[in-house]
Point group: C3
Chain length 370, copies 3
């Protein structure tokens, strides 16, 4: 595990990462799911395997009905005060897969905040009605802050971070790794769920392209991939949008090879996976990204002849012009599958937190060959 001494990147939370991870992972289990650093390769493998089993069980009506009985006695709060469609809906669908009932708070204007309540009090109240809080919030570090507040309540419930500021987005990173696992391994070569207990990244080149400075997706995914020796990561961005220093520093201390680059055209034929990202101009302070020629960080159909045949094209979506719609019909386009993988992975994470992973495994073993 590398997750010990790196500089804390989260605003206002000065505690050291090892302490933070220990707090979030109680008794070596995932209790809260807030930081990408919490997930070591064993847990990642377990979550990928669980995702795969949930997906397989869902393929039949009887299996789907089994899954919906697993958590039908629990209630989730989706507290999403930062705009989001796909992450929000992915979580709601994941809850439904497991029969977990949920309610939502999305627009702070309809909430008690108009009456002058602190957001901390709002969360304390929520913890009295619900068994888990899944949250997306504009403030970096807020999910962890909430996890610490709940520590002092009569009922302590788990918190899942569905994205916080430009800081972290750990469930996106998990679904991305799951997508890469699925694409880099095959069901036949690595039978059944054992497929996920290996390092399929050895010798693979994975490029991140675009606004790497402000995309939290890339930060969280870096933390996960850096755990797999033998992978090579390439960060391709305009110089102004290169990854922040903490990520560079983190990579330096890791066991994996990495490279900073600014020319997509040069790298496109080398990659086993290309992870496209959009310009995050909503974080612009003074329109600074208008000066950047982002077209150089776009993937287009005319590059297709250079693609490796098994290239994996990914994108966390939403996309703009940087990922040409004409690529959608190529076999290398995996971004729609990536969306659906997110639903399975989020269901797996919730199942792990509520400790129904054993029930899923048992059902799977009874009905499917491993």
């Amino acid at each position: 595990m590398q997750s010990t001494a790196e500089t804390d990147i989260t605003d206002g939370l000065q505690s050291d990462t090892a302490e933070r991870v220990a707090f979030l992972n109680r008794n070596s289990k995932i209790f809260h799911a807030v930081l990408a650093q919490q997930f070591d390769t064993n847990v990642i493998s377990e979550l990928c395997e669980l995702s795969e089993m949930i997906r397989a069980i869902s393929a039949t009506r009887q299996g789907t009905q089994f899954l919906t009985t697993l958590l039908n006695y629990r209630r989730a709060m989706l507290y999403f005060t930062q705009p989001s469609t796909r992450t929000f809906l992915s979580f709601t669908a994941a809850c439904q897969v497991l029969g977990l009932r949920y309610n939502t708070v999305r627009d702070p204007k309809t909430s008690s905040e108009v009456k002058g309540e602190s957001e901390e009090d709002t969360v304390r109240v929520l913890s009295q009605y619900f068994d888990i809080i899944i949250m997306r919030h504009p403030k970096a570090g807020f999910a962890e802050h909430v996890a610490r507040i709940l520590e002092h309540m009569p009922r302590t419930i788990p918190v899942i971070n569905g994205g916080s500021g430009k800081d972290q987005h750990p469930t996106q990173a998990l679904l991305d790794v799951y997508t890469l696992f699925r694409c880099f391994t095959t069901p036949t070569s690595v039978r059944g769920s054992r497929r996920y207990h290996c390092n399929p990244f050895v010798g693979k080149t994975i490029a991140f392209v675009g606004d790497l400075k402000r995309g939290r997706t890339v930060r969280s995914l870096t933390y996960l991939l850096a755990r797999y020796p033998g992978v090579k990561l390439v960060y391709i961005s305009p110089p102004e949008l290169a990854p922040e220093e903490d990520i560079v520093e983190y990579m330096r201390r890791s066991d994996v090879e990495f490279e900073m680059a600014d020319d997509l055209q040069k790298w496109v034929g080398e990659c086993d996976a290309i992870y496209m990202t959009r310009l995050q101009d909503e974080h612009d302070v003074a329109g600074e990204s208008k000066k950047i020629d982002y077209s150089r960080y776009s993937l287009t159909l005319d590059m297709a002849p250079q693609f490796k045949p098994n290239l994996v094209i990914m994108h966390p979506l939403p996309r703009r012009g940087e990922l040409d719609e004409k690529l959608d019909s190529l076999p290398q386009a995996k971004y729609w599958a990536q969306v659906r993988n997110g639903m399975w992975m989020r269901a797996a994470l919730i199942a792990l937190i509520f400790e129904v992973d054993g029930a899923i495994l048992e059902h799977y073993q009874n009905y499917y060959t491993l």
Copy 2:
């Protein structure tokens, strides 16, 4: 079937109706439900019969619980970006009747569109999480456009049109026909569900009153009623708000008698059904409807002595002044029943699309006399 050669009225979709209907009705089944022209008299009868069975089964707790097991392994997306209460809630209630779990997108401002995503991509993402998309949209033809987009995705899921621009509103037309069927036939004279396998419109006069130019309800209902020889349709409106040319043309080519009129007072005693509609002034370009004396197209209590005893008064709601609240207590007022019929009809349509109509029939035959 008349649905072959009429002019395409949908903006931007130039394909011929026969091709469109064939695309939507795959293998002679309703796959997507987008256009009123898709529904022939056999399907209409089947849907009315199914609505009636669902209603009857719902009358007991045990029956209701049976129904909620039918689709509890599926998930629906209600994508309603045009304001709507009743159609939206009618669909949510219909989903709940069948145990179909759902999620909603209502306010595009909370969606990824703020990050510059195309609405097509939003729908592509939704198709990865859900098993059906039920949509209401301000743009005419959008539901069909979505159905065609999904054709190219790894997972193709059905689309139901819950109203698109001033174009079509097919589920409203279906519930309207169901309401007319229920009122024009009696359970005793036509036993059980066979009640819906006849043409109860022979010799009936049905008037549409009000803003017939811009009300999509009337357009969709016209398509359905024109399939029943022997009915007489009367379009009563201010000359400025008469039905658009495509509807007039369509009626001319149909087998049914119809008339254009502008004097409600003259017709009120002749009608077996009067379908009131409100002024659609939200479609005004320059306040043109302010000049119209709409009070001449209002139904009031002082007209009641002229009503036929079995007159059916309908209104798609919401109403304004054109349908006097004082009429609410008359036995001829069927508009609240019409609302409730909508819930059953929408449940029937969803059941047909997911092919659980057979299970409903079987349950019905086991528990109820046909």
Copy 3:
């Protein structure tokens, strides 16, 4: 019962309270739940007992699953057009506890009101889709108005008042009484549910503190507590925010002792319960409450040495500065428990209205010792 002749305080509803209560409590049962005056001590005891049983049954997975089968064949409409988080979520959680499916209307802007529909018609439509309407509304008396409108519809369904203007908030009052019952009795001394069939208020001093003029919570709770002879109520507020004349008049005619005061410091050591409330400055007409020194009506940690050891500190929340966060860790702080009690009490009320209280009692007796 004292609920016979008091002045009607609700704007625009001039009928006498006895008639109103008779209308709402049909055949001596709670049909609609709109006014605090509807609940006599027998019903209060029954609801507290039912809350306690639901809470106990919910402690196991098997019990929770039993509860969710009770009302899974019904549908609720939560019509909350006044901003609210906690009451809204408390009701949704209560519905989920009982398996009651629900839909919501929260933002009138997405509703048909933009098309000019009256709110009465909106409610009439809702009554066609749902089996109960739970509402919060800015207008005093609106819930009762709706109950009376529905009287004239083909389907009459119950209405629960989740708060109306500055008038009443009966479910808050019920959960407050339940909280007091729980704190003033002990499970061991009064075995099982019989615990709630007594008057635990004899000799107790309960203080209301803060903006007592405009807080509907205090009005509703006063109606309930005035039914318990032997309690002493103290109303502590700035003179400008003293309770309105109708409450004073009501207390005068009741059997219980009460006092008006303005000095919290003087009373703090005398009280068995202190019910804090925030300044309701959203009801200010011209910023009048800015002149008030509300800090004198705040509970702070430096008062703690004066607290009785079994003092019950309550607050309907949201709080501002009047209830110091530093008090949260004291054993006397009961406001988070109060929040959770609200969920159980609301579930109990819904269960009583739908007459599944018998099924709950039977299950409880089978599985738990009384």
